[in-house]
């Protein structure tokens, strides 16, 4: 083989490998992105049906109940504006507490109950998951804007 041909073989092989890898990666990437929505988004039907996503906010005070099997728990997640009920079967992370921040991953059911497959731990007591913080921040600024709008109308 001439040097030039050899170079073509190399470049060709490289392009094929790269294209295959890129196709593989992007395909897997596309189907495994998990989006984040705040409880307000969910209540206002902006979250997808039938696809897994994440919600975040605070666990509402006194909303935690445990079913008779000892493993299924129900609680409400709130961004201080809207609230959605969540059901989860399994063991909650150590720092799961009412009134504290939480992030859960799962799907929304037709009854409007969020079926969590995963409840995420935070690792420090004073630490708020950024997603939860963002959800509350959004709700607060929306409330502020509503208030401002109302004041203007009057």
């Amino acid at each position: 083989m001439k040097a030039r041909h050899r170079r073509f073989v190399w470049i060709g092989a490289g392009v094929v490998v790269l294209a295959a890898a890129a196709a593989l990666v992007l395909n897997a990437f596309q189907s495994n992105l998990v989006f984040f929505f705040s409880p307000t988004d969910v209540v206002e039907n902006r979250a997808p049906q039938g696809r897994a996503f994440r919600i975040g906010g605070l666990v509402e005070e006194k909303s935690l109940t445990r079913a008779a099997d000892g493993l299924t728990v129900r609680f409400n997640v709130t961004d201080t504006a809207k609230t959605i009920p969540v059901v989860y079967t399994g063991i909650l992370p150590d720092l799961f507490k009412e009134g504290k921040g939480v992030v859960a991953q799962g799907k929304i059911g037709p009854d409007g109950v969020f079926r969590a497959t995963e409840v995420l731990a935070k690792h420090d007591e004073n630490y708020m998951p950024p997603e939860a913080a963002a959800a509350i921040g959004q709700a607060n600024s929306r409330a502020a804007m509503d208030k401002a709008a109302k004041t203007l109308k009057q």
Partner: protein, 657 residues
């Protein structure tokens, strides 16, 4: 007084780093021997001052000096001594000081172990390391001073995060940083070579042992982190594709590519520019990892309080280092020139394949790690990329890599032929296919995933056996004598590759046969996982040095006979009132039995996690073998002989000059 001394020592180290980063490099450029000769003493001095500062910090932690902000927020008078020492690197500031300490130590090691190198090279290598140290010392002093005082002093500290109160904390960060920072040596050698325009097989031989050593440390560090997460976080996973894990995994992947490409540069003189580029990438990814972990952009165990100034500083430093070295590369690399030619089927081409695949893997991890950050930064919404993505991408990328791992070491340099390779490897192929098909029946139920994983592992083992047999065929002496003559770098490769096989077995068996059960258990209830039956015997109160715990007792039996008793704990730490799960694990070579307490539910019952994890320890055993392979390769006689020869040449040149 002690913290101020530490602070002062850091400032002195900064001044020395500034000198180290300028004078020797200029000296090498202008040919001023006196300036070049400054490199070694400056590197030594810099290390002494950093070490002194580090000592001061440890002293403050050990002696509970709660007037130091860092100590007050990360330690507590009840904390046991070993964790007070480890708390020194438990905070952002402390861990950055550890980073700089490691950097100083590597520079000092290079200064001591470089007698055989030409003075110009030493001056440039140490100079570049000085520049890196300068950046990090500035970062420490300007944004993250570990010695900041607080007034009035706290009565007691806020305590180290209970998750970190574990032997893992004592060993994981130092080893990981040794690896991370160790790539700065490979990086400095690469930059020095670009600056000096000297890039040849000798250069590869000099930087190779340093790279291998750093890689071995990094492997150990990642292994410890994984093992720690497995038993400490209480849900029995060994790898989560957490961004912080990815941050350490990317330099590892590129580092692995680098040690293979260095082999080609040393043996054949090819891949030179490529090797330099990899060295730059490996260290850049180490820096990127530091940025991701330390700037607070990530949600994870490792994230500390966010301070935007810090993120901006590291980002600017990152841009400077990566941008600067890539510009230098673009200017100088074309002059490096190609090496020997090779055919599409040859050991070179297979190692190139190894490199391409490893880089593709690192690239896909990078995409999965950074994409959510980009979207977030641009306010396009919050997303996360789950483990399924990484799993889907990794298996198809690693499969050809493992295949090449079997063929590559048997292929001839420059030109190999397929019929010859087929001839030598067909038995290995037959044996591994047969093993993969048959073995799952012996271990449990057959499934395509398990069979495939075992095929990969068996292929590595079978081709390794072929390799050793071929090497053992000698003219003189017996097989043993012939094998004893093989250099230790050969054995290093064999051991490391067998480590990969061990790792694959572990991953395959855990994925294929693990049982995980979350159950509610009252006293006297039993649950069966794998071949074990566990009976819950209730909980009792227990007290540790700085916590109180509910300790559960689980009687484990196998085939009706008592096997062992496990005591998982649910702890509440005195200082912060933070709860913590401490799993109880019974280790065997063939698998772990893993029990952790969830939470108490009504009437003395608990929710309990019970896992059976077959062959899970093989995962870490495999990593250990890989690191051991690296250390074996380091002990090769070749490096020492080469050193002496190089020293002779340098001496001769000096005599002539």
């Amino acid at each position: 007084m002690i913290p101020e001394l530490g602070h002062f020592a850091l400032i002195l180290a900064l001044l020395l780093a500034a000198l180290l980063g300028t004078l020797p490099i200029l000296g090498a450029h202008r040919g001023i021997p006196a300036w070049m000769a400054l490199a070694r003493p400056l590197a030594g001095g810099q290390f002494l001052f950093i070490a002194f500062a580090f000592g001061c910090l440890v002293y403050s932690f050990v002696n509970n000096d709660f007037s130091v902000l860092n100590v007050a927020t990360n330690s507590n008078s009840q904390l046991p001594l070993q964790y007070r020492v480890a708390a020194s690197w438990g905070s952002h500031e402390g861990s950055m000081l550890l980073w700089v300490f490691m950097l100083g130590a590597w520079a000092c090691a290079v200064a001591l172990k470089s007698r055989h190198l030409p003075d110009e090279m030493v001056a440039r290598v140490l100079g570049v390391m000085g520049l890196v140290a300068l950046g990090f010392l500035l970062f420490l002093l300007l944004t993250s001073n570990p010695f900041d005082r607080m007034f009035p002093p706290a009565a007691d500290g806020r305590d180290l995060n209970p998750l970190l109160q574990d032997p893992g904390m004592v060993f994981h960060p130092p080893l990981l940083y040794m690896g991370y920072v160790g790539f700065s040596v490979a990086f400095s050698f690469a930059i020095a070579a670009l600056l000096g325009g000297r890039l040849d097989a000798t250069w590869a031989r000099w930087s190779r042992p340093w790279t291998t050593l750093a890689w071995s440390f990094l492997t150990c560090g990642i292994m410890l982190g994984s093992g720690w997460a497995y038993y400490e976080l209480g849900w029995g996973g060994w790898w989560f594709w957490d961004p912080v894990e990815n941050a350490s995994f990317m330099p590892w992947l590129i580092g692995t590519a680098l040690i293979h490409s260095l082999a080609v540069t040393e043996k054949r003189g090819t891949f030179k520019a490529w090797t330099v580029l990899l060295a730059i990438c490996a260290f850049s990814l180490s820096l990127l990892g530091t940025f991701l972990v330390r700037s607070g952009v990530l949600t994870s165990v490792h994230a500390f309080a966010t301070d935007p100034r810090r993120g901006v500083f590291i980002l600017a430093f990152l841009a400077l280092v990566i941008g600067g070295s890539l510009v230098l590369f673009a200017l100088r690399a074309p002059k490096v020139g190609g090496g020997g030619r090779f055919e599409p089927v040859s050991r070179e081409s297979m190692l190139l394949g190894n490199n391409v695949l490893l880089i593709a893997a690192a690239g896909s991890v990078l995409l999965g790690t950074l994409y959510p950050l980009f979207l977030d930064a641009l306010n396009l919404g919050k997303i996360s990329v789950g483990p399924p993505y990484f799993d889907t991408v990794f298996v198809p990328l690693m499969t050809p890599l493992v295949f090449l791992m079997g063929v590559g070491p048997l292929a001839r340099w420059k030109e190999a032929t397929l019929p010859d390779l087929w001839q030598r490897l067909r038995w290995a192929l037959a044996v591994s296919v047969a093993t993969a098909l048959a073995l799952p029946f012996a271990t449990g139920k057959w499934s395509p995933g398990v069979s495939f994983g075992l095929l990969l592992a068996a292929w590595i083992v079978a081709t390794t056996v072929v390799n050793i047999r071929e090497r053992g065929r000698g003219v003189r002496g017996g097989v043993v004598a012939q094998l004893a003559r093989q250099p230790s770098s050969y054995w290093g490769m064999i051991v490391a590759h067998l480590g990969i096989a061990t790792f694959i077995v572990g991953v395959t068996m855990v994925k294929g046969y693990e049982t995980e059960r979350d159950v509610r258990m009252s006293v006297g209830d039993t649950v069966t996982v794998g071949s074990f039956t566990l009976r819950f015997d209730g909980t009792s109160e227990a007290t540790g040095p700085n916590y109180r715990a509910a300790r559960g007792a689980f009687d484990v039996s196998r085939g009706g006979e008592h096997y062992t008793t496990l005591f998982p704990e649910k702890r509440v730490y005195n200082a912060g009132g933070m709860p913590m799960t401490e799993a109880a694990i019974s280790n065997r070579v063939t698998g772990d039995l893993y029990v952790s307490l969830g939470e108490p539910v009504d009437g003395g019952a608990w929710s309990v996690r019970v896992y059976d994890k077959p062959f899970v320890t093989w995962i870490w055993g495999g990593c250990l073998l890989m690191a051991l392979g690296g250390v074996l390769a380091l002990s090769d006689r070749r490096y020492r002989i080469a050193f002496r020869r190089a020293a002779g040449v340098a001496g001769g040149a000096a005599a002539r000059g």
